[in-house]
Amino acid sequence: MVAPASMPTLEVEGLETRFITRRGPVPAIRDISLTVNKGEIVGLVGESGSGKSVTGLSIMGLIEAPGEVSAGKVLLNGEDLRKVSRRRLRQLRGDRIAMVFQDPMMTLNPVLRIRTQMVEAIHAHDQSVGAEAARQRCRDALAQVGIPSPEERLDAYPHQFSGGMRQRVAIAIALLNRPDLIIADEPTTALDVTIQAQILAVVQSLCREHGTALIWITHDLSVVAGLAERIYVMYGGCVVEQGGVDAVLDRPLHPYTDGLIRSVPWHNEPGRPLNQIRGMVPPLDRMPKGCRFWPRCDRATEGCRAPVALDEIRTGQRARCIHPLVESR
């Protein structure tokens, strides 16, 4: 199926995922709508418990019991992943849509050579590829992510790589079949700064050269600032703000986004107390009604306890807030 040029690579609409607990179903994410265009890098930012990883897993169809995707659409090139057969989903995963995890050992099998694992990923989707051609593709993929002497490294085991190199292998596997979309969940969080910068460079050039769309899930606003074109900020299972990276970071509308940005040490005079958001993220089963952030918010009023919509407040910038930070700052 060839998608028309104007169609976004991924369109998520009203996605909801809940977990069945002894006290009844608890929604982990609610009303998530995202769009990612061809070749676009989108950042999905939030703290632990914000639902950012669940969002990634839900898009991939990797939510397992006691969890379930309970509402919404996930359109990959116009095809709803929630409606397709399991067989079709397996065809698409690893081929048109791939995921990279924080811990590359989630992807890599410790007892198999890298070559075995990579060739398997090719053959799972196209059995007609010959052994030599498959090896060539694996070698090229490793070279592409900057692994030195890829020919020899193909025969190595995962434990023979350093953490940064292992993450590159995981990315190389995600890239093998030239997917249209990669979902990367905190892929550089465990890595050192200089290694992180190398991975970011690889990912950026891949998106530019091949038009791969990318969702970069992270808790680190600063990484997304340099990498993404648009960002979605999540809190308590909802998107609370979305827009262009410059708009959101320079003129945040939601008090939570604003608080996050202000609490970054680089944004504060050294030695002075940091701006902090009081309190902490409430557990999922005790989320406040209405705006999830109101108990921690300085601008909260009685009206915040009613459900709040994600409204377009400035052109291209939306926020789920009835007291957004406009002008009056």
Binding site: I195, L200, L227, S263, W266, P270, G271, Q276, M280
Partner: protein
Amino acid sequence: MSEQPPVIEVCHVSRRFSRRLDLVQRVARRLGARVHERTVHAVDDVSLTIGEGEAVGLVGESGCGKSTLGRLVAGIDTPSAGEVRFRGQPVAQDDSEAARRTALKIQMIFQDPLDSLNPRHRMGRIVGEGARYHRVVPSGEIDSHVDTVLEQVGLDPSMKSRFPHQFSGGQRQRIGIARALAVRPEVVVCDESVASLDVSIQAQIINLFMRLRAELGLAYLFISHDIGVVRHIADRVVVMYLGRVVEEGPTKTLFDAPNHPYTQALMSEVPRLDNRHVDFNPITGEIPSPLDPPSGCHFHPRCPHAHERCRMEVPRLKRLADGRFSACHLNDA
């Protein structure tokens, strides 16, 4: 002696870890095989001082030896060479009363509080145990002492009977801090103490560290891979690479104009909120294995300015005109 000695002096300290040969290897060696013990110089001839109430930041990437150095300063580990002094006195590693008193004065706070708190002990006991054992306060006053410390770190004393797993990550880190403070230390070694916390909680804990320093006159050795955090909290910064100090200086000087090429790379590659739509163009190469570090300057295989001398000769840490120290041959040119 006219001047007060600094609170902590680390003098030419090295820490080597070697893997003992197993039986087969020892026999092989007897028979003339070329088998050697593999030695890692985790910390290689490092000197630094921490003044009264000073916050020194220690930055570097994995494997650079920053945590090992922190453990040496805290007295959890013993140097292979050199010595650590507390107020001019060598930190002894025996069971003497003096050694115990010194050990109490230097406390450590770890990265993951859940790993460093006994899961079977209630919070009140975790915090009070050190103080009780070392008789920091008379035994009748332990409870009120624990309450005071808990209030200092922003924990509710009424939660004393809870177990560590019943607290959030930020609260657990506060328990770790309270435990360290309960024995009234003068120096606190913080090893990645805010690394595993969320941004909004991290800000709260950093503020706590700064407030405690102001209130109690604590000196910090603040170890972190997060340069932004160190810039915020430290007066002086020490940069390590593969066991050696490559640069040291006042925070502002070091951040405004890093001298060593490694520091420069580190600074330029830290993602910042203000850097948008970046074309990532990082320094190449991996951090070499500490088991087999490069000759000469450890950084030369990754350094854009490396020349012949860098491969041959280890650069000494030299004082520059503006008073900071840097270990780079380029400064001699």
